[in-house]
């Protein structure tokens, strides 16, 4: 990933520095959930509840994140603001998976999408096309 552009409709920005920080931080979590953070369950217990095997992004793992705001106001919120706690989490996974689908032409529908998941899907796709090619030559 070499760039991430976020456009958020937040009602009204009350504190530009914190609002931008909140959005960038949520996107970072969303990128983590999309590409790294796999919770492995067994018998009701998380099997990888350590920072060594539940991998979250570090400072070296994230692309530049650009944030833009659309301020349309909101009659229900203080001074026209909306809550932005969960808002920035929603975009990254679909954006990232759709980019991968667009690049590979293979459909993915779950997160996190790990490198081994992509390799498995590529292997399956090449087997299918090999079978298809044999079938076509008969």
């Amino acid at each position: 990933m070499d760039d991430f552009v976020a456009l958020q409709e937040v009602g009204r920005v009350l504190h530009p520095l914190l609002a931008r920080g909140q959005i960038i931080g949520g996107i970072a979590q969303g990128i983590g959930f999309s590409l790294y953070e796999k919770v492995v369950w067994q018998n009701g217990c998380m099997q990888n509840a350590q920072m060594t095997n539940y991998i979250m992004p570090t400072a070296t793992d994230l692309p530049p994140i650009r944030v833009f705001f659309e301020e349309l106001g909101n009659i229900h919120g203080a001074y026209g603001a909306k809550g932005i706690g969960e808002l920035p989490m929603d975009g990254p996974a679909p954006a990232i998976l759709n980019a991968i689908v667009d690049a590979l032409g293979i459909h993915f529908d779950s997160v996190p999408l790990l490198p081994e998941d992509i390799m498995d899907a590529l292997d399956s796709a090449s087997q299918v096309s090999a079978v298809g090619a044999r079938g076509g030559s008969r």
């Binding site: 996107i27 970072a28 920072m51 400072a59 070296t60």
Partner: protein, 165 residues
């Protein structure tokens, strides 16, 4: 023969913290983190994972960045340490603290002491680090809130101010 930590007597262990000589009475294998927080009441140093992966308990020990959750206090005998409490001078913030504040480098604040210590260590090693070197230098410190970008910007800003000051 019992060899457990509990069966051994507490020892007097002397070191310097933020320029002040201190003596702790602790079991040799107690974590430096616990001695700093519970005996010396320096609670600015945070416990995150407790297994040396997240960097929130980082302190400087004889100029080296260490995770205090992994250091048995015995190893601190004679050492000179700096914790987050050693950064501000009375009412004046350290240049790194100012930059974190202005750039939005702190959100929930749990990683912040460790981030400041790691940043100080980085700037001691390299006066003008590149953005890549800053990201690399902070990669042992995890942050869940900020997305790191504002922290990296804060360190770059602090480096700039230090040169122009």
């Amino acid at each position: 023969m019992s060899d457990s930590g509990e069966s051994r007597a507490k020892q007097a262990i002397s070191f310097t913290v933020n320029g002040e000589p201190k003596t702790a009475h602790a079991y040799p294998m107690e974590r430096l983190l616990d001695v700093l927080r519970h005996q010396l009441h320096l609670t600015g140093t945070k416990e995150g994972c407790g297994e040396g992966e997240c960097g929130s308990c980082a302190v400087l020990m004889d100029g080296t960045l260490v995770n205090s959750c992994l250091v048995p206090v015995l190893q601190a005998q004679g050492a000179s340490m700096v914790t987050i409490e050693g950064f501000a001078t009375h009412e004046t913030l350290h240049v790194l603290q100012e930059a974190f504040l202005e750039c939005g480098g702190a959100q929930c604040g749990i990683c912040t002491p460790g981030m400041i210590l790691a940043s100080a260590h980085l700037l001691n090693e390299k006066r003008q680090p590149t953005m890549e070197e800053i990201r690399e230098g902070l990669s042992g410190n995890l942050c869940r809130c900020t997305g790191y970008r504002q922290i990296v910007e804060a360190v770059a800003e602090a480096a700039r101010r230090r040169t122009t000051a």
